[in-house]
Symmetry: D3
Subunit: 242 residues, 6 copies
């Protein structure tokens, strides 16, 4: 097995990984990691409003455009990407899909996992994706699931930032400095042609999280942080130094 | 200023730092850190039951014994220790004491701070000590408090483990591996002659936290953890890698 | 489209809308609104104890009686009512039923939605009905669901009062004055022949909520409130004046 | 109907009832109760790591060994036991299984019910088992479910102790003194040959809960408690004396 | 020391113990207990609106009337009562008062303690009274406080019912059947001439809690409960049978 | 008494009301309201870092500059302003100050009150100011406080937005559209010469809250909202229409 470190991103819709975790992906790729993104759906029904306002639009066309955009963004970020096309609004996750996700864990052996918040009153697909990400992780740890395969350890699980954080009970206990890769993330964001209104929104999010990260290392710190991403780490850390 | 890293422990009573943070102290001292312990009181009224059952006991004698024990423990752990003797059951913290604690922050410039849980229905001195630890930290960050002094940054704040964790709303999001220094912690614990019943209790706590730490790195991990301490980190981390 | 304002009530069992939202229905109808009630089930298995104690009772007879009572109550309140007969104890909601509820949203375009509390340890059908009410609302907002239909905006969602409020985590952040329509609500309540023991119970609820409403406008206020209904608004308000 | 008091234990995997409720079972059996344990699965995939590390292991062999161990433990504790073999990691509960559990409630008429915590981020089978235990209890109370059968009253529901209590939001509001039956519980624990690492872990749990129980009756109490089990009672008590 | 069991009620204002705990007091007195009520204030500023609307009213007159009413109520209930007159709106509790409350604990050696909810956004005196009740209890357990006195054990602490329960985070986990003593409680309530509007309010509260208590023992139970009081038990139970 | 509607803003430090409630103030003033701002302190020690970095700075000079800035901002917003100079970092509120705030309530008879979040781990002055705002409101409702004065009713209480919302448990349940007065708020913000780094930060906050407000009325709504302020309403609404 390669010594390259790996990470897994489980994205309910095909653009989520860009807005919410694009900085983390670009940053870890830059540090030599392999990052794999699973897009469970294209967000074709619920998150493609602009496309649907075009004449003669069909579900297939929406999916096609959304896939092109997401592929372009993933390429810019340096991530591997898969599209599972399981449908959205509402998303439903069969055991077959769940086991397929277990297979990804087993093969990738990720050092950490990123997915949505555990609660989101504005979007029921998001918590479901996170639920599957966690359930698959637990099954991937079970010796009796596909015995003989290498089981996974206990990769930390992080929730990336939802749209309306406070309503989701999402509290960022981890700020990632993405200043170095902000240009990359911005270019990836700009692949999302159907959701231009969100470009500025998530640029402002990155700036706010940057200011907050700076504040949380103290104004006396030398490190200059301009852009950040917030994460809610759900699993305990095990450390040798506090 | 020395380049030695420093940490601050705010202990309501003179034995708390031993049971609850002895491993962290010994471990960081072993790694070259300077650790300072402030014992706000001796626990002379509320946590010295055994001493009080001896004949002819007085408050002064209790304090004397408790100080000797705590000094011995601190020495074993390698910590600097101060006794502020502000009284217990009930503890009251004046602004004078608060500012004295601010001075400690300013002088020590700690990289992290350890104190009690923010809630403890069994012990009102504990949350009060934590409250003071946090309030002093905030004041120590204020440019207008004793202008000219070097302000502090944003040292992370951790709650160490209370006696009945679940009743205190204390959830360990950080496990510290103390296997290497367990012998040291145990010797420090054994200085607490008045509270022998707690020796075994906190040995078991360390073993349980060790098992849990092991579980949280995954059973496939090579690292062997036998003894642990649990901490609840209250402040966000700022990181460059997840 | 008519300019008449509309509201939607999603009721797990056929009597819930009467006890819990009868005042809101009567009041808005009186103010010229159209209010539509969806009874997902008759509560035929779990909330018809008295009927089952009669000799020779069958499921069909229970449903028949429950429907007659609910129709009579709806007529008194002035509401449109539909019975979907999906079964209770346990209730299960298929995607087909979910989409049928989406259709109701799309057609009715409600200004607000009322349903159960999000948690109820005494009754699992209730939170499920609310979950469906919210999920259907989200799907009804999605441009890609039945493209071409008029999507819905963001109608506020309210939980009406469960039987044991505190156990359900239900907190009334909105009190509706139903003094003017109390007589109507009481007559509707009295249609529920199988549950006489609840008539007095919910009369007392209305009086208590009336007293509390009065207290929350201040005892100096001139408005005389005798009867009230409590609601937990789950969605943020958007206002031009605080 | 016999006047013997009865209790029901719903265990997700075949060893859970031993670690988590063995003391309660042994104690009530000793006091003349009949206690019935339903093992929904054997924990054959997710909780049998040691067995899977043996050569030529198969799912059937794992199940066989797990059943033998659990039967031996149940016999020592004095409990009736049933194995429903519905699978684990992930567990799924069909309505058929749910109704079978309702039948158990109706027939057993338990005075209380024990199952898992309502949340467990490390184990999704556990909360699911508790959910079924509660949903079945509600259906068993419904007059319209299998009319003519004797419905159940409102047996209190308790969560027994999960592995990492704080992460599960589990707070012990009830301590059961199991000092008298500790030997029995320990012998039952020792039937679990595949999980020896947990013998000591749960012995320490029992000692800690014993110390805490002692503390919660006050150090002046005469009762000597050495071993305890913690429970989280989810349902209100109805009493004639506080 | 007498073998009579005792209980302590800490009431912020002179009428609170009647509305909120009158049933518990009467019931335990009837069962042979001694119950002591400490009224920290008369509620003379904040809970005597009707008196203040009379002409020529003074603070002393208000206090006098309130004391007469409370004494009459206590006599009907069979409780001992003390008035400490420490002022209300805002209430402030000095260490002197706190230690006086400790003395009461030490002398009375209560088997349980009743006071207010820990949170009440409508009334800041109430949580303060509960805080003092708990802090005094902890100090009364400390061997080093007035050494030589008999320390107290760990009497359970209950919050009685606040006016708007849901806003106070108060959840009744214990229902006390007060049917037998309801007449007594009602007569005590009727001593509160200044607050007639609350007579009916708290009669309805007792009826609702009675219905809920009945529901929580199950509709199959033979016990007939008409009137109840709800309590939130804050401290764990230690039991020999679940 | 004038029929002009009034509102009260309790600001811990002299700039808080600008960043956090400037839009609400300007908007209500524009709608004909009188808005009064109480600045409890100047934020002279804890929120004037930039001033303290100037040579020869003194506490008096800092206060002077901060007052000039706040006065200028208040004038732009159209608010009345008072400076109470009670000190910051740490703030302490005496009963004398509390009663002075009660007098303000009594005289102003505000229709609503704005202050800080009830929790803020980064700033202990903020929750204290809100606590005083609420305690003074309760006392102002008490007939027995300064009898003869007109008591206040039950003005709603809102928490304005803290710096790191999620860490403060602050959830915006009310969005105020401030698009019409954004220019005014921005000019007021620009009076805060010592905190230029916050100008952009709070401009971005206003834009984000504008987007969220728009989303919460639904994308089909005609109303164009560009800038918003978020509030957490702590008190229940009493309404005649949902």
């Amino acid at each position: 097995m390669s010594s390259q470190k790996t990470a897994l991103v489980v994205s309910a819709h095909s653009a989520d990984f860009v807005w919410r975790a694009g900085g983390a992906i670009a940053s870890h790729v830059k540090q030599g990691w392999k990052v794999k993104v699973i897009c469970l759906s294209y967000g074709e029904r619920g998150e493609s409003a602009k496309l649907w306002r075009q004449p003669n639009m069909t579900l297939e066309k929406v999916k096609y455009v959304r896939e092109q955009e997401a592929r372009a963004a993933a390429e810019i970020l340096g991530a591997d990407i898969e599209f599972w096309d399981i449908g959205d609004y509402p998303m439903r996750i069969s055991d077959e899909i769940l086991f397929k996700l277990v297979d990804v864990y087993r093969e990738l052996q990720p050092k950490f996992v990123l997915s949505h918040s555990e609660r989101d009153p504005y979007n029921f697909d998001h918590p479901l994706a996170m639920h599957a990400a966690q359930e698959a992780r637990i099954i991937a740890q079970a010796e009796g699931h596909n015995p003989g395969q290498k089981i996974v350890g206990a990769p930390p699980v992080y929730s990336f930032e939802p749209h309306q954080t406070e309503q989701c009970g999402w509290e960022p206990n981890t700020f990632l400095d993405i200043t170095d890769v902000w240009d990359t993330k911005l270019r990836a964001i700009q692949c999302m042609a159907g959701q231009e209104h969100l470009w500025e929104y998530y640029t402002r999010v990155a700036l706010q999280r940057g200011v907050q990260a700076k504040r949380n290392i103290g104004i006396t710190a030398k490190r200059n942080i301009q852009y950040g991403e917030g994460y809610m780490k759900l699993t305990p850390a095990v450390v040798e130094q506090l």
